[in-house]
Assembly symmetry: C2
Homo-oligomer: 403 residues x 2
């Protein structure tokens, strides 16, 4: 039996997803199981801020039935932060605080869960600890509903958000067919830099309830073409269902939400997104009855509609991170690789965070049709395996049980 | 064995709910089971329009496994209409068309599923058939997410919408606690004339994740008091969660959504609701960071978060309607009565539609606190039994199966 090496510190960063806490569960339970190598398991409160301010939770005494709830708890159970670390060569102050906390708690394994900004933090912490010759394994764990991390096939969090969006789109489509003459319904989906989430709306098409039109950040948006597209559909069907990404840009690459069109009479940026703008404009220009629906936060925190595959992969991501750390690997992110033959199967591999930090993976052009207003079947092949299965979520008195 | 009496016609009307099709299931299967009394079971396409235009579906040959899907299908499977019937003494033209269809199909049982406007239609059809001395039992079946029908304890559709709102509120609350300094999050809930749905957001408080403040149509809305309430909470907690009804009115009874504040620079009413307005104003007046979330259509079509109690009661409502019709009762709505001792138990009784048509039941004042910005525990006692239990919803490839 090996001697204990030291303690583990885990943190969450960036925006919530409905399975980031499943990854926390994977990390915490895997670490607690390896008692002969890892003694204490700590979680940072509010991401890297917890390490800077010596604000940690010790998880060793938390009852197992409570840990189990992490699997079905959306949001960020231990708190998050959007904190961009400076270069330690220019300002070492925060690094010194973090280093003191690492020494105080004998942290020898550091697992940090987030998107591309968080991988940048991983890289910087790993560099600094090497500079201080402090032995500690630094592992990045992917998490983002946007699915925009490079190198990895996909990210935990995407499958559940995609499932929420696909099913909600189907329900909205069914709802909007109630009357013989319908409206133009514009549904706005998250994803500022990539169209993965908006494309997921099209999975509803596999049941005949998908959007008629889809507009993605990957294709420059033309108001004129959009209005013509909608008019054509409306004339034929007396209704039109549109999915639009919050991140659509005009030809010069400026996000529609940041153009003058969005300023109110006081010159303030308006709340409520691009779907409201498009619907208002369409009512004014084309006199079509319109409704706009922003899926908003529920798409990233809808724990009642998790994908079982996503939950299982999120847990495995955390467990794999602990394994890499114990194997002495550092400065890597846990990445995913899929095989599709004979069936969907996922494996994991480590890849240097350096290549991943600050990168953005967009939807490949071949997954978008020629006109830039719909998805091709290639996207279904990619996304469908990720939304499979429904967890046995526990409720009490009709309310989901949270950690 | 009695002789067959004739055929049954069922129709859906008004806005969708996530269990109106469960009531359809109750009607259709109960009617098909009584083969010795009812021969054919028809559904109108697009509500009363289907009867006017001779556009009916015969349900006798639909496979049972397909009928089963009605229980988990939101929206309006047979189509709806918002059609206000005129007084037949003033304009008989549509009544003559309907009467011809009734004679052609030998309709002797007419079951109509909807809200208070639909009960008005029931009343008029019942009156007209009596005037024509045509023997036909007319039964109203309640349906509304708003829960605003009088006489009945509650309405099928409310429990599932309340469950969706309560759980989504809890998930949003959890999500918005991610960062150490939060925002003012204003969540807009449906219900133009009554606060039943908005109040349901407070069920999340039973788990510690409810809204800090609730604003209902029952209490005149003051912008100044609202902003002061929010500021007090924000100062104490560095975040504030608000639930607001789309139907809040100023002291003179004018809905906020219909005041000048909602007109854009072109003088058009803006899409996006009262939550966006309140959030924008709060940013401008109080310089607080704000986010607005409109729950929008998903709250009435979120079949993935049905209440089992609501589904079962919706089915029983349909079955009870068929029973009343066979017993020779006419011109009534199926109403619900609850017992709470020793435990929640529901029974049904018929009540003349005349008393129900066009009435509105608002939230009793004793369910609202003195300040008019929160709910009292009396509401929990009322609403909690209605959101209990989760149906075993069937999915295929991660997508909910629809009728």
């Amino acid at each position: 039996m090996k001697n204990q090496i030291g303690n583990l510190l885990y943190g969450q960063s960036g925006g919530p997803t409905s399975v980031i806490n499943a990854t926390a569960y994977g990390v915490i339970t895997a670490a607690l199981r390896t008692k002969h190598q890892i003694d204490k398991v700590y979680c940072m409160h509010n991401g890297i801020d917890g390490a800077i301010h010596d604000d940690l939770f010790c998880m060793n005494e938390v009852p197992f039935h409570q840990l189990e709830l992490l699997k079905q708890t959306p949001g960020v159970a231990f708190g998050s932060a959007r904190h961009k670390m400076k270069d330690y060569r220019k300002d070492e102050s925060e690094y010194i605080k973090i280093f003191n906390v690492f020494q105080k708690y004998n942290i020898r394994f550091f697992l940090f869960n987030g998107g591309n900004d968080s991988m940048d933090t991983c890289q910087k912490i790993d560099d600094y600890l090497a500079y201080k010759s402090y032995r500690c394994q630094v592992i990045g764990l992917p998490k983002t509903i946007d699915n925009d991390l490079v190198v990895t096939d996909h990210c935990p969090g995407y499958g559940s958000a995609a499932k929420f969006i696909a099913n909600t789109m189907m329900e909205i489509a069914y709802d909007t067919q109630a009357y013989s003459i319908g409206k133009v319904t514009i549904v706005e989906v998250m994803g500022r830099n990539s169209g993965w989430l908006t494309a997921a709306a099209s999975l509803a098409s596999l049941r005949g309830y998908g959007p008629d039109l889809i507009y993605l950040p990957e294709v420059p948006f033309s108001k004129e073409r959009f209005q013509a597209d909608v008019q054509t559909i409306y004339d034929a069907k007396k209704r039109c269902l549109v999915a639009v990404s919050e991140g659509i840009c005009d030809v010069s690459g400026v996000m529609l939400g940041e153009t003058d069109l969005f300023m109110d009479a006081f010159g303030h940026g308006q709340l409520g997104g691009v779907s409201h703008l498009l619907a208002n404009q369409l009512q004014i220009d084309a006199h079509l009855p319109c409704r706009s629906i922003e899926l908003n936060l529920p798409q990233r925190c809808g724990a009642h509609l998790q994908s079982l595959v996503d939950v299982q992969e999120a847990i495995a991501t955390g467990e794999t991170g602990v394994r890499y750390a114990l194997e002495g690997i550092s400065g890597v992110m846990v990445c995913m690789k899929r095989e599709m033959s004979p069936a969907y199967r996922l494996s994991y591999f480590p890849h240097p965070v350096h290549d991943i930090a600050n990168g953005v993976k967009t939807l490949p052009r071949e997954m978008i049709n020629k006109e830039g207003n719909q998805i091709t079947p290639l996207f279904y092949d990619y996304a469908l395996p990720l939304i499979q299965g429904e967890p046995d979520t526990s409720y009490q008195d009709g309310l989901i049980c949270l950690y």
